[in-house]
Symmetry: C2
Subunit: 195 residues, 2 copies
């Protein structure tokens, strides 16, 4: 029980630092220090840094999945409005964070997809899950006549998620919200603006 | 003269390795070894790893700028066709490369924008230059009546570049061309499909 709690604390602190600095750029000792765990005890909790990285991806995926689903299941809004509301929450988060960090899953995908196939598959699953949630929302919007009938919900969801990831990288580089504002204007003001 | 040639070789080899593995994940010794330069002579050519990184960004920017401008100045095609032809060349490149690496500027922006403000400003300039080239092309397409009159060329160029960067991260993660194919279908088949 205590072991499990400590493991969770290492994952949370590790996730925070990796989100700021990247995976390869974050040392095991730095994570243990932030978590207040004695040096050298890392391998008591994780088989390897890879094993730890996979647990961090799970942690990020659960968090993101929770936020997406909270918005997309909000019956008080039309389907497109729910999606807009999710991106709006994210936009507020990044404003608070000084336009830094970006999407932890997108960051790790960019950094690690070519370097480690186990990470790549796990990150692919995570992006696929976000995409599926958006696709389900757009299919419902399509069925409800909220969006243009010739818009393919699956393809549009795929494009929107990828565009969002790119907008976040640009936001980090510009240190302002402009990429997210333009994303909102084009995705919600044009692509999903309705029949 | 010889010093300049060696410096160029270090930049080229460094750029290749950084494109594969990331900046922080690439060691100075590894670059010197690839360039066939004696260990320990790095600081004869560069003031610091940062100084070297800035030269690598210049190298990537010049290369990308050259390729974009080659396509966008091709008078044999309509303006939108020139842009499509640029992305088509990039797509063929990534197919050859096994769907790996992605955009070197986007990668370094994602990795370094939060960590180093000098890099961030340089990477911002590079992305701004690519965006400006695309915006000029779309303004010409707009003036020629090739795209919908209510489409804002500057904003659309900004969105397209960011979406492309995100599509490349997804491509690395999926190890297939689907993200680039969907990008093409939505950007050229819908957004820029004409009045």
């Amino acid at each position: 029980m205590v072991k499990e709690e400590t493991r969770t604390r290492i994952i949370q602190e590790g996730a925070r630092i990796i989100h700021e600095k990247g995976f390869n750029n974050t040392g095991v000792q730095e994570i243990l220090q932030a978590a207040g765990v004695p040096k050298g005890s890392f391998y008591f909790y994780f088989k390897s840094k890879e094993d730890f990285g996979l647990a961090v991806i799970d942690y990020f995926s659960e968090f993101m999945g929770g936020r997406i689903n909270a918005h997309l299941s909000d019956d008080s809004l039309p389907h497109v409005g729910r999606l807009k509301s999710f991106f709006h929450e994210m936009t507020l988060f990044f404003r608070q964070e000084g336009y830094s960090r970006g999407c932890p899953i997108g960051n790790m995908a960019q950094e690690l997809a070519d370097l480690n196939d186990t990470f790549r598959m796990k990150l692919k699953e995570s992006l696929d899950a976000m995409e599926s949630a958006i696709a389900r929302c757009l299919r419902a919007a399509h069925d409800a006549g909220e969006i243009e009938p010739d818009l393919n919900p699956g393809e549009t969801a795929y494009f929107i998620l990828n565009s969002w990831e790119g907008a976040l990288t640009r936001m980090k580089t510009e240190k302002n919200l402009e990429p997210l504002i333009v994303f909102d204007r084009i995705v919600f003001g044009r692509m999903l603006k309705g029949a």
